[in-house]
Symmetry: C2
Subunit: 160 residues, 2 copies
């Protein structure tokens, strides 16, 4: 099986997860698969409503499973196959997890077309604080900076 066939196989598994999730009324139409060294180490559908967890998108759920299985917070060397372009939450999680590459099928515009906020949140993040729908206010930066100095000086810390 050549490399392109492999990518197609893994993506079809992610797509099947997305379809089954809707057919069984378990959650949104999204699935993701994480692969390392040509083997699946994690897969998940979207579990937001099932788990009452707004962060339980397919990609984040798969990342959590893959990290648990690897006993590591670092997924370097892994590839993610997701049935839809990651929302900014999941894209950022992919960065934090150091995943090597993303294969996606549907786009954020497709997701917007069936009522999901992915594209809207991309637009919000790009705005200055003052222009966003959810307002932000800064407080006590002078007091909070002590924790950052402690981190800088700590000899016990695990960097990530």
């Amino acid at each position: 099986m050549d490399s392109r066939d492999q990518h197609i196989n893994f993506m079809r598994i992610a797509i099947r997860l997305s379809e089954q999730n809707v057919k069984k009324a378990l959650g949104g139409p999204f699935g993701a698969v994480i692969v390392k060294d040509g083997k699946i180490i994690a897969k998940s559908a979207n579990k937001v409503t099932l788990k009452n967890d707004p962060t339980a998108h397919a990609e984040i759920s798969a990342i959590r499973i893959a990290c648990k299985k690897s006993a590591s917070f670092d997924l370097s060397g892994c590839v993610i196959y997701t049935s839809c372009e990651p929302c900014p939450m999941c894209l950022s999680a992919i960065y934090w997890a150091h995943i090597d590459k993303i294969y996606y099928a549907n786009t954020k515009e497709n997701a917007a077309g069936i009522g999901f906020d992915d594209q809207f949140i991309y637009q919000e993040i790009a705005k200055p604080h003052a222009d966003r729908i959810i307002k932000s206010e800064q407080l006590l930066q002078d007091e909070a900076s002590d924790a950052f100095s402690l981190w800088n000086e700590s000899e016990l810390k695990t960097e990530y």
Copy 2:
């Protein structure tokens, strides 16, 4: 106690969580508190290294606790106090959770100053796919669109 004093009190709790996390070598210098109707319903420090979960930032961990406690994926009516400006993963999670307002102390520039990638990930998200460090490739959109049609037509779905 007036409203400003209340905000300061809640932020000081978030800041204390961030400091204790470093002093006890449990994780990064970040803490978050979620408040509803003037009462704390969730608080967490960063647990990335403790839990081997790159998504376990203070804000996401607090959101998951608050949702579990509320038995809901929707935190409308809640406010979050975070010792540092949310990274794009956590900011997006705040949008998905429908939190009303964000109070923060340190900034993403401060976080960059002690080696965290928050600001870098903000920059990456704003770029077109082709210019990002983590590459993306589209596959099988024609096959993945079926799940979106199923979702559109489903009478059993729980929207979120």
